[in-house]
């Protein structure tokens, strides 16, 4: 069964690929941002892979004065990609596991098809965990979950340079509750789509 489905999927992907190549003619990249004033990213900043962040990132840290300073909030003026309205539904994981379930694979296969028809978008795959593990263990687990999804999407023909992985560990739970339902919801890979 899975083999058959893979084959069907593969031919579908080839079709989609051919269609989109013919339709687009040439692959468009977002124009490079001329930003001499920008906080200079390192030489290896991810600019080639993802759209550059807004030019003025705003401050990272507040100057703390000696012993007496009290911080005041400065305006933070940058866009996030944390919107939850992704066209690509989350996939979910078992406790302490980064293994893709049959259902998760099936979801990722649909994601791959959609991504081949929307070659203008890029995806950040966020790995999330429930709150029952420790901070750093969960960051490693979230990384493995995101990478598992990344690996599978790439194996289905999605270009690797359109995908990025980010582990959030237990730092950004979708449901802050402390119960089985919330935990299950939070053990997920989320697909944040940007153009």
């Amino acid at each position: 069964m899975p083999l058959l489905r893979h084959r069907q999927l593969a031919s579908l992907l080839v079709l989609a690929l051919a269609f989109s190549l013919a339709a687009c003619g040439s692959k468009r990249r977002p124009p490079a941002l001329a930003s001499p004033e920008a906080i200079t990213p390192g030489p290896s900043e991810t600019g080639d892979m993802m759209p550059t962040q807004p030019i003025d990132e705003g401050p990272d840290v507040l100057a703390v004065e000696g012993e007496y300073a009290t911080g005041s909030d400065l305006e933070a003026d940058y866009a996030t990609t944390f919107e939850e309205g992704s066209p690509l539904p989350d996939i979910h994981f078992d406790l302490d596991s980064a293994a893709l379930s049959e259902q998760a694979r099936s979801t990722l296969e649909r994601h791959a098809v959609w991504l081949q028809t929307r070659r203008d978008v890029r995806v950040t795959i966020e790995g999330h965990c429930d709150q029952r593990g420790t901070v750093e263990y969960n960051l490693a687990l979230g990384e493995q979950r995101a990478r598992a999804a990344w690996d599978y999407l790439v194996s289905l023909g999605v270009a690797a340079d359109r995908l990025r992985t980010v582990s959030y560990g237990k730092e950004r739970p979708l449901d802050p509750g402390n119960n089985e339902q919330a935990w299950a919801l939070n053990r997920r890979a989320h697909f944040s789509v940007s153009q």
């Binding site: 991810t46 012993e67 933070a76 950040t124 490693a140």
Partner: protein, 449 residues
């Protein structure tokens, strides 16, 4: 400076503390509120008398400063659990103190052996505090110091006096130290954020450090206390940032991750020259080390398992870390070049988040350990005997320990009633206290210099 203490008095007290450390019985079996270590003079426990600070002028502002100094100094000196104190009720029985000519017989009469006198005055918005410490029996001065500075935070004067008094013992005081942590208090309904804060060791004076509205976690102090390394998501991918917090400047992506690679869990070496961290740059989460400016990155672990959460030994020669190479997360130790890896924890099926005691007196590593109940507790393993002692017990879930710079206390975060708070215990697990560090969930403490 500490050097102002008469050398003979200091040597004497240090000797006495050492003598007790050798002779002292096990504190574990005794009542929880007993000091775990005491100074003994001639077989008798000397008791401190810390009478009220004496204002040099009667104005309300000076009196208020004096009240703060008295209270903070007493709290600071009690915190280390090294000293005993004359009860407040007995202090009231002593005739009014003439700070220029203390009548030592008065203080002997209530059992005091060490007398701490403070005076304060405010002129032109500048606070001046004098502190004198005497041996009551001989009237000998052990310490005499004057402090001056802006008048709006008298607490720091008491903290400095406490740290100077601690120079008379074998331990460095921590009253002026700060704890960095992560808080979600600035989150809104529309946007979850985590920002870094620092707070005095006693929970007072919280100050915000990061202001970027993203997720900022895992703060790690540089040994000089000027910088925090941390992980920020403001460029979406989690990267190590380095902030010089008193200048308000930060360097993003210090370890120069590229493409898809992420970096976590930075930790400065004790000499401040290196940063150990976890990165998936090789395609798998491993321990890496770089120079403090990010140059010279070097991969230390190469297993297929996730290796994370490095911490340095006090000499900088070794690094402990968490690895899931046997199937469950456990602590390991390796040389700082990645060689000579050996497993440290063998009790429990889930151990993470090492913190190596910086004190030369104690050779031990604190970490987070999962219990059978599913919650987490703080544990400490003695490196010589491999014996494990549990620091927290039945306080909800606790994790992420960090040592006070003198190794006598631990800070960590505990969840109680659905809220995480920075919590402090001494190294035996006694005198647990939640710090009032402000609203929100406050987690991932790092105790700085």
């Amino acid at each position: 400076m500490p050097s102002s203490a008469p050398p003979t008095a200091r040597a004497l007290l240090a000797l006495l503390v050492l003598a007790v450390a050798v002779a002292g019985g096990s504190p574990l079996g005794s009542a929880p509120q007993e000091p775990v270590e005491q100074i003994v003079i001639g077989g008798v426990t000397p008791r401190f008398a810390v009478p009220e600070c004496v204002p040099r002028t009667p104005d309300e502002r000076t009196q208020q400063a004096c009240r703060t100094i008295t209270q903070v100094l007493r709290n600071d000196l009690r915190f280390e659990r090294l000293f005993q104190f004359v009860p407040d009720s007995l202090l009231a029985a002593v005739p009014p103190l003439d700070p220029d000519n203390p009548v030592f017989e008065d203080w002997q009469g209530i059992g005091a052996r060490i007398l701490v006198i403070t005076r304060a005055s405010i002129a032109n918005d500048e606070l001046t505090v004098e502190a004198r410490v005497y041996f009551v029996d001989s009237g000998q001065t052990m310490l005499a110091r004057r402090y001056s500075g802006p008048a709006h935070n008298p607490r720091i004067f008491a903290h400095q006096a406490s740290d100077d008094i601690m120079t008379l013992t074998q331990y460095k005081g921590v009253a002026r130290t700060r704890i960095a942590f992560t808080s979600d208090r600035d989150s809104t309904a529309e946007k979850q954020s985590k920002e870094l804060y620092i707070v005095d060791y006693d929970g007072f004076n919280p100050r915000r450090v990061t202001v970027n509205g993203s997720v900022n976690i895992l703060p790690a102090w540089s040994p000089d206390g000027q910088s925090l390394a941390y992980v920020s998501y403001r460029r979406v991918t989690p990267l190590v940032f380095l902030a010089r917090i008193f200048e308000g400047k930060s360097v993003p992506n210090v370890t120069a991750e590229r493409g898809n690679s992420q970096a976590f869990a930075p930790a400065f070496s004790p000499d401040g020259q290196k940063i150990a961290y976890a990165s998936n740059r090789s395609g798998n989460m491993d321990i890496w080390v770089a120079n403090a400016d990010g140059s010279g990155t070097q991969q230390l672990t190469t297993t297929r398992a996730a290796d994370t959460a490095p911490c340095w030994s006090p000499t900088g020669q070794e690094i402990a870390f968490t690895s899931s190479r046997t199937g469950t997360p456990q602590l390991y130790i390796m040389s700082n070049d990645g060689l000579n890896v050996r497993r440290l924890t063998r009790v429990g099926n889930y151990n993470d988040a090492c913190a190596w005691s910086p004190a030369r007196q104690f050779s031990e590593v604190a970490y987070t350990s999962r219990l059978q109940s599913g919650g987490f507790d703080i544990a400490v393993i003695d490196l010589a005997t491999r014996q494990v002692r549990q620091i927290t017990r039945g306080r909800g879930s606790c994790e992420y320990p960090t040592w006070a710079p003198n190794g006598r206390h631990l800070a960590f975060s505990c969840e109680q009633r659905e809220t995480w708070a920075i919590t402090i215990a001494d190294r035996e697990g006694l005198s647990l206290k939640r710090l009032a560090t402000g609203p929100g969930n406050n987690v991932q403490p790092d105790w700085g210099p």
